[in-house]
């Protein structure tokens, strides 16, 4: 736990609460939505996860930075050890920072990376107290102030965050036989990697791209940040797709968008699910899976339409974790089968999707 040169800084919450910490990232004030994640590993993955766009992330595991930041190895045109090309969180809040890091694949300290990416970060915060605060009061706007100059609060949920993180143009990965149209609402690289493990060509398109006239075998709707209701164009395209019978697979925001397209509704959770230990049960079975999650909105179970059914349910709070069409190969999960970071128990869902495509082709 180093002392200097870490200037004092404050975290101010929109309800007036103030926490004092030391700045170890970029020296700049910033505001965003304050959320917490209880995962014990995977800060490089979380920080680069586009779903965190606009959010100030609190990590509840107290010692962060231990294994530094991975090398920028490129594989399949993506950074092998990250979930996108750069950090998406607005800021990072932790308890104890390890500037001295140790790992064979480490290239720099977490602090240096945050500085280079211009992301503020504080350590020395009672993150458990802060987490309890968020749990009781809900996620809320907050700001990091590095000096006496104040800045306004900002609620990123009022913006179309998806538009900020989505690809600007079409990109093609792989040369496999199954052509998968991937609607990028802020896709994590590991989703693309998981799809490429099969015999696929992944066509990554912007969130509002009209793919109805394109040639493909299966449609994938990615994860992404913010309120699903902002993605009007995506929902409209989806409505058309699910009228047909091509396989569709959605994850996280993709799940919410599919639900909205199917006529179901979504709502905002008090403080979301952000962890590696969310238990889900496949409806009607005794099969339970541990999942990685990162979402602030959820699908209202009561609103699921009659052609559809709930597929997975959260064992802790009984919230919806997946829907599946009763007849067609169309399904989605709230959790992240691609993990990264988190447990890989549900990776078989990608194979489920590929099987559906193969079935459909027959």
């Amino acid at each position: 736990m180093p002392t200097n040169p870490y200037p004092d800084a404050r975290l101010v919450l929109s309800d007036g609460a103030v926490f004092h910490g030391k700045s170890f990232g970029f020296q700049g004030s910033i505001s965003g939505e304050l959320v917490f994640n209880t995962a014990m590993t995977g800060y490089p993955e979380s920080l680069t996860d586009p779903s965190y766009r606009g959010q100030i992330l609190v990590l509840t595991y107290p010692s962060i930075g231990n294994y530094g930041v991975p090398k920028p190895t490129i594989e399949d045109n993506m950074l092998r050890f990250f979930e996108s090309d750069h950090i998406h969180v607005s800021a990072l809040i932790i308890s104890d920072y390890s500037e001295k890091h140790s790992h064979w694949n480490s290239s720099q300290s977490l602090g240096d990376w945050l500085k280079a990416e211009k992301v503020p970060a504080l350590f020395g915060i009672d993150t458990r107290m802060l987490t309890r605060h968020i749990r009781e009061k809900g996620s809320m706007p907050a700001k990091i102030l590095i000096d006496s100059n104040d800045i306004p609060f900002d609620d990123p949920n009022n913006r179309n965050l998806v538009a900020e993180v989505s690809a600007q143009q079409k990109t093609i990965y792989g040369k496999g036989k199954h052509r998968i149209m991937l609607v990028d609402c802020g896709v994590k690289s590991n989703i693309i990697r998981c799809l490429l493990e099969y015999d696929t060509t992944v066509i990554r398109i912007p969130w509002d791209y009209d793919y109805s006239r394109e040639d493909f075998d299966g449609l994938f709707i990615s994860n992404g940040p913010g309120n699903p209701e902002h993605c009007i164009a995506t929902i409209a395209h989806l409505k058309q797709s699910i009228a047909g019978d091509k396989p569709v697979f959605g994850i996280c925001l993709g799940h919410q968008l599919l639900a909205l397209a199917s006529g179901a509704s979504t709502y905002k959770l008090k403080f979301g699910h952000r962890s590696h230990n969310q238990p889900v049960l496949q409806d009607g079975t005794n099969k339970a899976y541990l999942t990685s999650q990162n979402h602030g909105y959820a699908v209202d179970i009561a609103s699921i339409q009659s052609d559809w059914k709930s597929w997975f349910t959260n064992l802790n709070d009984n919230s919806n974790e997946g829907i599946i069409h009763k007849k067609k190969p169309i399904f989605s999960t709230q959790f992240h089968p691609e993990a990264s970071s988190g447990p890989t128990d549900t990776a078989f869902l990608f194979s489920h999707f590929i099987n559906a495509i193969e079935q459909w082709k027959k």
Partner: protein, 1073 residues
Amino acid sequence: MEKINKVLVLGSGALKIGEAGEFDYSGSQALKALREEGIKTVLINPNIATVQTSEGIADQIYFLPVTPYFVERIIEKEKPEGILLAFGGQTALNCGIALHESGVLEKHQVKVLGTPVTAIMETEDRERFAALLGTIGVKTPKSVAVTSEEQALKAAEEIGFPLIIRAAFTLGGQGSGFCNNMDELQKQAEKAFSYADQILIEESLKGWKEIEYEVVRDRYDNCITVCNMENFDPLGIHTGESIVVAPSQTLTNSEYHKLRKISIQIVKRVGIIGECNVQYALDPESEDYRVIEVNARLSRSSALASKATGYPLAFVAAKLALGFGLHELKNSVTKTTTAFFEPALDYMVCKIPRWDLNKFHGVSKEIGSSMKSVGEIMAIGRSFEECIQKGLRMAGLGMHGFVANRELPEETIKKALNQPTDTRIFSIAAAFAEGWSVEQIHLNTKIDRWFLEKLYNIHQLSEKIAGFNAIESLPNDLLLEAKKCGFSDFQLARLVYSEAAPTDIEQLLLTVRKHRKSRGIVPVIKQIDTLAAEFPADTNYLYLTYHGDEHDILPEKDGRSVVVLGSGAYRIGSSVEFDWSGVNALQSIEKAGYRSVMINYNPETVSTDYDSCNRLYFEELSLERTLDIAELELPLGVIVSTGGQIPNNLAMRLHRQQVPILGTSPESIDKAENRYKFSELLDSIGVDQPAWKELSSMEDIELFTKEVGFPVLVRPSYVLSGAAMNVVSNASELRHFLEMATKISKQYPVVVSKFLTDAKEIEMDAVADKGEIILYAISEHIEFAGVHSGDATMMFPPQKVYVETIRRIKKISRKIAEALQISGPFNIQFLARDNDIKVIECNLRASRSLPFVSKVLKTNFIDYATRIMLGEKVEKPLKSLFELDYIGVKAPQFSFSRLSKADPVLGVDMASTGEVGCIGDDYYEAILKSMLAVGYRIPKKNILISSGPMRSKTELLASALWLTENGFDLFATQGTHQFLAENNIPSKVVYWPDVPKSPNAYELIRSRQIDLVINIPKNLSQEELDNDYTIRRAAVDFNVPLITNARLASAFIYAIARYRLEDLRIKSWSEYV
């Protein structure tokens, strides 16, 4: 789920190295889980001091050996439908496998609940298991068995360097070695072949990280990993000997989940139902790994994981064995969320082993692939620095953290770093102090740089603090940072006031405390809730940290809380008996309508199960931390008399800080603890004691010993703490003890007293109320005085003591209780020769024998004591110890087989690691059962005797005669043979091991021709010990029962003269009492 009505649970027997208190915790949890389902439970466990063998935990308890013979008899009698094998360590597992293989379980239609036996057996056989893992593509270390040098070279080519060579079937790693190239391989192989015909060529994983996962699977194939752990010490040091942190600290997400995924694959493939531990080696330079071990049962690691996370692994495993699914069970902490989850920690824990190697003669201090530690501690904090410093204090070896300790014995740092010993971490501190870099230390130890950087942080901080010479001048920021890095007030006082005399530190640490509090630098209470605060949890599992601004809970401070201080790390002389006492005190407190609060930090215990009390502080038992908690709780009072010596030593110090102590006053405790004051008190009330003198110089002591003669008892002033009393038999031992164990000076005099031999040792365990004895139990040692009371075999009620002796003992005890105004438990040790009674020691706290006498009497002494301490008026019980028509015998368990080269002889220092207590209709039945329960076997034919001094020879005469008359063959060393011949008892003479003639004692033992070795040393002088050492050690190494005390030997022989194995009655506790 088919309905099961009655389940047999196998315990692990006496505590021993490698199998300790963790199985009391696991078994207790399993029994609780079964009872909750309305299932009748039958427990077999001779470990009478455990919590699981207490009333109300199992329906029937058998204090009988956990061996196939006894378990089968009990199955015949109890007719259980199911059996649990996974909760009693390797003892229970091996016993279960034997019962399965012999068809006993099938014959009696007893179903093994949980993981099937065949699956367990697959994991136990290294080769078969490696092959099984190969089928699912999981890697294990490459290993090839070869019988020629040629084959060895070929195998080396296949596997690649570096390699390790092991000679098969040798003890203590003889013939093993590392090699980095063909040249070294050739030399090593040649050497190894001189030890054995077959050698193993294995890939070397030296320096790899060692990582463990605790995996749970249910019958629906649902799987979770509750916890992972990372060893601070890289591969090569047994995980039981390693400092371990949870969760892993240096693993990336990808590594963490890669190993997690493999763990789940393995557990699914094996077909575990319940709990399983998987150990890995992980390459520090890539993601390459090897599976090095799998334990298909609850283990030490699983107990640690339970305490580290709050996830009750044993409880859940028992439910899964009954057929529940994980998703059908609730998280025991939140009570609302599911048991199908993986705990998210927002803190970290650090486990540190506790060794007692200096208690043994001849044992190497080096640690490695075999386990030597006798206990462990777990420290909780929110940074590694905080955890490790707390933990090093908790280990209780007189260290105050990573820095600011007393100097270690001189040794070159390079050697100390390269050859790990029990004190290696302090050698790292010494290396930093001498200017070594993290990188240099890493190269020498292979400890991950991350851990070393954290330690370096502590070192740097200590230097910064040492630059100040008054605590008031330390900047607040620095002081807070020091506290966040785990510095105790003591460390700060020692660093800042480096010139202060050791005696002043006590006052100075209070100065630091006062200053710190005035600056508002105080710790906060945090909860362990399994979900990192994501869900509200009304949990009572707590720790203190300086990394926080807010208390998670606020104690009521209504004076209705009672704090019980636990016993800390298990060590030789303080073990599960104090856990039993503590847990029972908690129960009585709750029954009396108060809130029970526990402070303890031993992960192997039941007292650190958050279910055992209203609030658990998993915290240090230091003055500083106890004061912190007392100030937060403002309790009715603190109980210091149920946790052994650690709380006892805190009594006066807490009292001086106005913390209310319940029960006997701290002044009285001090009077009993301070040898001088106590001896004076005895004189003043006219109680006899061995001739004594308080002496402050070597010359005076020598003069005194000339006057009274050896042996003498030497008792250091307790102010120094730690050093116990010691019996010394000659001048060289006396000098050795005074140099090694204590410092003698005017300031620290020692009390030397005449030590009586050939005297009976008798113990009084009692509870008094304001000086009046309410209940008591008197027990008698089988061995004469001279054997440490913890190593003695004890019978209760006494069988061979004069009624007049008992009368006098009661009278003296009443006088002492009155004089010290005792309120609570106490124990007095007496020497009796004829009717001459002398007091040798008095402890105003629960003793080691208290659970034993409580259970034999079925009268809970701790319950009485606690109620008295709470101020209740209690009635004297009606039971009298003379009305028992059965008898209990408590026997010690030794772990010499784990301590290579240690001399298995009993003497001045306690050496046993555990004990059992068995009940019989008569003395001989009880002693035979208890000795069988600690591993003795009834000899079939050949007995080797070397009977030591004349009085042992005489003692053994009658039993030797019986043996020869009953078809046993005696083998005797020269002197014993001659003595037997003179008394017309036939025996075959054997030569001493160092005489190259046959029949040779060593050869007979090695070739397993001997069923029992009786080896009585003449006295405890080094010369005599060396003479017989080889015989004793061979008996231990080749697993031949060994008795080193003549009185015990004859008691054992008398017992086998009266009882055959099948004559021993299979009676449960409730059938006796």
